[in-house]
Symmetry: D2
Subunit: 296 residues, 4 copies
């Protein structure tokens, strides 16, 4: 079981001798899955891996509702700042980003979204958020949250124009979403002003505050995702391991999706624990959906 | 260009002689695409068809933001009822359903969602809506909106337990989502009390109001989707027609997706008309995303 | 019964002979009550008048939830414009303004508020809206809605910097909130492009659209407030008339508030019709609230 | 400076000899002000006191946005529970209650409100919340938050019907809003399962979790209100102290409101620190507002 592709990278680079022993693997994150697809495309993947992250009951929930709550939780624990009335810039409008944007709005923020994908940018705009380039957003934000899985999303060109008091947090993946190395160069005399809060004094009386050294703020400054959302991710992990063993003989060295039956089973189980019952299609409705001869 | 598969059905049933003349077709709706896949699976599809509905710039926008606004618009025009403080039951949590649920909540309603898919039901619950069976919802709702693409989603077992004054509207597909035939049998002396509003007096002093005879309330009682969301759907239609002609030689009798380049082009164009500029990946970021050797 | 002080003005200016015949009056609107207080302060009020508008069951509901829904309803009926993704400028953050702002946000708009009162401006900011001067907002808005009760809230200095396609609507009081006379001077060749929509072509290829000639857009282009919110206002009107007659002997030529018993009765009655039951204080709790000797 | 009337009670009960030395006092909370009015009505108030809580820049902000965020913050820190998808019962819809309800909704909860005042109950319903008696809510809630300023809002009749796993938190005033003494009697073998979380095992395999022994959860389990909302409360405290000294000669032993000039000054100052500029009335508009002779 991998989280972000670290184990996979180590196995393929430093422990290639062990690759043949492995029946299969699983990967928990968006970032890791992107990496695995790159490995598969390059023909270097050494064993079958299931993209847990792509299960609906994982990425639609853990990434959205989990990160949405815990990223803000981390920021509040680190700073005790009031979200209401502040401009919150969310970099990235994937599942994590829309979770964070939605929760920040729900707490009274004016939310700005930055994106590189035009479709997602449009969705953000239609969801009521302001959408603009990172450069423009840098001048308007009070709190910046990166949720991209990429690197240097906030970098010197942004630090240079941010307002005094700007707060930077990462809730995406590695600690390179914010280019802290450059920020340290810009303000060598930075200091910790509160646990998890480092102050960088820049020119012109501007101070910028980076949380948790750019590591995931929900893990570093809070307790990570609530159990009641991780339960679904882990149920997928567990059931997929069983499935990998049972189907080992027929699997190739590829990236597999979580089987739909497992994904739906997890959803059904979760609803049950929440005391929620839902409808079933009537026979009549099933026939209707499968037919193309019935109509108006 | 088809909308709901009516043209396709007519061509395949009554005008089979014309099938060979057709280069290709397009389909605008979720319901139509379900039908086309059924035809393809049955090996009866007579020409290549592009599922316009599946373009991100179509179904993520038209279905969600278009239907979200126009369904409520239709209900308000038909009834002039105050949404705030009322329980609104949304049957179906696809793109249309989440649009309607989100807008009803935004207007102050207590929103209840019914679903047959467990994953969607979970999403609805995590989005803050109450989720329950149609039977339970029937006793609590003030306004019911069907957005399923299926038939008889509201039927006698529901009518029998609804509150006095319940309002029924369809914003899904055909006029069979609400089983109005049965409702007419239950209350033969129904009468129009306002344009687009028909009152059905049931036993026990209960009256139920069906809007627009169960036809799409946004088309029948309002003006349909705003131009500023249909523009994206029609841009896809138009660009895909060009593409069909250009690629006619190599296309099979299958259901095709809208080519990604066209889909993204439509998004980019739309952002431009809204005056929104977004970021581009730096060279550094592109390399990072494609690599699996860089890491922590 | 007066609405906006028109009847009162006519009686005091043109029919002073009738003043002695009048037992008492009522006034429905914020604007009218401001006017009555001015008359009372000037010592010119000719009979006792009850400020219906000030009843909690009136101004907290009719102004907020009624105007909130019906103003947007009017704009949509007049233009069929999509609210999602648009910048909506709400001028004034009184009860009407917060209703309109809340509903526009609920429909997916980016909402900007302008105010002259610093406390209300702060509330708007903490509620997640952007707050700025009218001059700044004029350059950013797609739709402008005036809800101030004042005059010339939108005027040439704003028209001159608005974007092409800006839509202007009034949901406040008189048709002078938008200075249409000046707009007509700026674009004498204006024309109706749709019922209730007048286009003003300004220099530099900019066109501005004014709805319903600046009259109340919810009355002119839609059906006004829903019955289920006006019922509370009219219940106050009716019960206060009884009260005026019963107490005629002891009333002075002043502006009176709606008696609290009447106001609370209306609320209780309304809850009952909505099928909502609420708690009552226990004896223990009543004693606790009245006491200052009990404590930590 | 008093918070909840504790100092005042001690002075009037145990240190009456010091009363003559006191120029004046201030009171920070809703609960304290209720108490002071009761003392004034009973003729026992020993010195002039200003109700800081009643300043708009205090109770509209501190109580609403401060408590809204910090109560949920406290609950999340104590339990790390996911708010999305849960039913949150908010007891009381005063300024604190509407803050908590709004933020819980913003985090994806299904929010239920209980009230004793019919007007507030109606507002809650129109704001989209479900309103019911405490007894009904007790069977439906996952998380209960008391914000009433009263005692025993949650008591045995509620504990008896709550679901397994229900969480109880107080964000109102004293630690008697939840009748924990009775809960302890019902489950003598209660135990701490996490810091700030006490488990009470009741009959039928039901366990209830009370946070922070019923004390204010935002103070006990989190850091209290953010500085950026308390600044306004304390600005009022500080400026009112100056005012008390300056006006000592003319003040009576009564409860005074914060002078409007001070209240508005605090709002203006706060806007300035947020970088927000607002409009001023034009001369023309001032004349219009003061006039009753201008009209349609």
């Amino acid at each position: 079981m991998d989280d972000g592709g670290d184990l996979v990278t180590m196995l393929h680079q430093q422990r290639r001798d062990q690759l043949p022993e492995i029946i299969g693997g699983t990967e928990e994150t968006t970032t890791g899955v992107i990496r695995l697809h790159s490995m598969e495309a390059n023909g270097v993947l050494g064993y079958p891996i299931v993209a847990i992250n792509n299960a609906d009951t994982k990425h639609l929930f853990d990434n959205r509702y989990g990160t949405g709550q815990s990223a803000l939780d981390g920021i509040i624990r680190a700073t005790n700042v009031l979200i209401a009335g502040r401009s919150v810039v969310v970099c990235g409008y994937g599942m994590c980003g829309r979770g964070v944007a939605s929760r920040a709005k729900g707490m009274g923020a004016d939310v700005i979204v930055t994106e590189i994908d035009p479709t997602r940018a449009l969705e953000a705009a239609m969801d009521g958020f302001r959408v603009m380039t990172g450069k423009e957003a840098a001048t308007q934000g009070d709190i910046f949250i990166t949720v991209t899985g990429n690197k240097h999303v906030l970098r010197p060109e942004h630090f240079e124009v941010m307002k005094d008091g700007a707060i930077l947090a990462n809730a995406g993946h590695f600690d390179i979403e914010i280019d802290l190395a450059s920020l340290r160069d810009m303000a060598p005399d930075n200091r910790e002003v509160r646990p998890e809060v480092r102050e960088f004094a820049l020119g012109g009386d501007r101070r910028i505050y980076a949380l948790s050294d750019g590591r995931l703020v929900n893990l570093a400054a809070a307790e990570g995702h609530p159990a009641s959302v991780m339960d679904m991710s882990f149920a997928n992990q567990s059931l997929v391991c069983e499935w990998l063993v049972a189907n080992a003989a027929s699997l190739e060295k590829k990236v597999y999706e979580v089987p739909t039956e497992i994904d739906k089973d997890v959803a059904r189980l979760k609803l049950e624990t929440m005391g929620i019952r839902i409808d079933e299609l009537t026979t009549d409705q099933k026939i209707y959906l499968e037919s193309w001869e019935q109509g108006t």
